[in-house]
């Protein structure tokens, strides 16, 4: 069964450093998302991406964040200058069509020291 994959599973970085979180969505899916979850709490929407552009972003997704789909398979989230409060689990998700369920990857745990 196809699944969303994410790398790395755990990333530790120093405050102020840049990180790139990688995702490989399900191959025929068209809609891509990033979410974050702080310490097993509520899942917060960050950004959605469709047709090679951002379709919606939340207040969390400020100028320090960017997303890219550099080729036909990868979908990345970049944080330019990490802050302590960026420490969270980051989930990538994808879906085939608008009115369908999203499929989530296993997450990347980001720890900012």
């Amino acid at each position: 069964e196809p699944e969303v994959t994410q790398t790395p599973s755990h990333q530790v970085t120093q405050m102020g450093q840049e990180v790139i979180l990688r995702c490989v969505p399900i191959s025929n899916h068209l809609y891509f998302y990033w979410y974050r979850q702080i310490l097993g709490q509520k899942v917060e929407f960050l950004v959605s991406f469709y047709n090679n552009e951002i379709s919606e972003k939340s207040e969390i997704f400020d100028d320090q964040f960017s997303v890219e789909r550099p080729d036909g398979s990868n979908f990345t989230l970049k944080i330019r200058s990490t802050k302590l409060e960026d420490s969270a689990m980051y989930f990538c998700a994808s879906k085939l069509e608008m009115a369908r369920e999203q499929f989530f990857g296993p997450g990347t745990r980001l720890t900012v020291l």
Binding site: G40, Q41, K42, F45, E56, A99, E101, Q102, F104, G105
Partner: protein
């Protein structure tokens, strides 16, 4: 503002007993509603969804949920709980053309 609520932070149930995890929503239009489960240190797994049609929907692992428009609820149920059902459950709504909105989550503990 559109939102989804899960009024219980924690639900405890004995193995073999029926379980209910509650969800209510406040949205305009006709929402699509989902339940996702998160096992410890794992990602989010899709359980079931309501788009249209029968108000009672069946999903994975023996779970089901009933969409009740008059009460704006979408409670998750299972007739007989297993210890392995212990996890964090999220109710999620989606309005067409918008994005998923997650409820705060309910931690289910099934006691042997």
């Amino acid at each position: 503002a559109q939102s989804v609520a899960q009024p219980e932070d924690q639900v405890n149930v004995a193995e073999g007993n029926p379980l209910t995890v509650k969800c209510t929503y406040s949205v305009s239009g006709n929402p699509y509603l989902f339940w996702y489960v998160q096992y410890p240190n794992r990602g989010l797994q899709f359980l079931l969804k309501y788009i249209t049609g029968d108000n009672l929907v069946k999903g994975s692992y023996g779970f089901e949920a009933e969409f009740n428009k008059s009460q704006t609820s979408f409670h998750l149920k299972k007739p007989s709980a297993l210890v392995s059902d212990s996890a964090l459950y999220f109710c999620v709504f989606y309005n067409y053309g918008q994005n998923f909105v997650f409820g705060p989550g309910t931690r289910l503990s099934v006691l042997p």
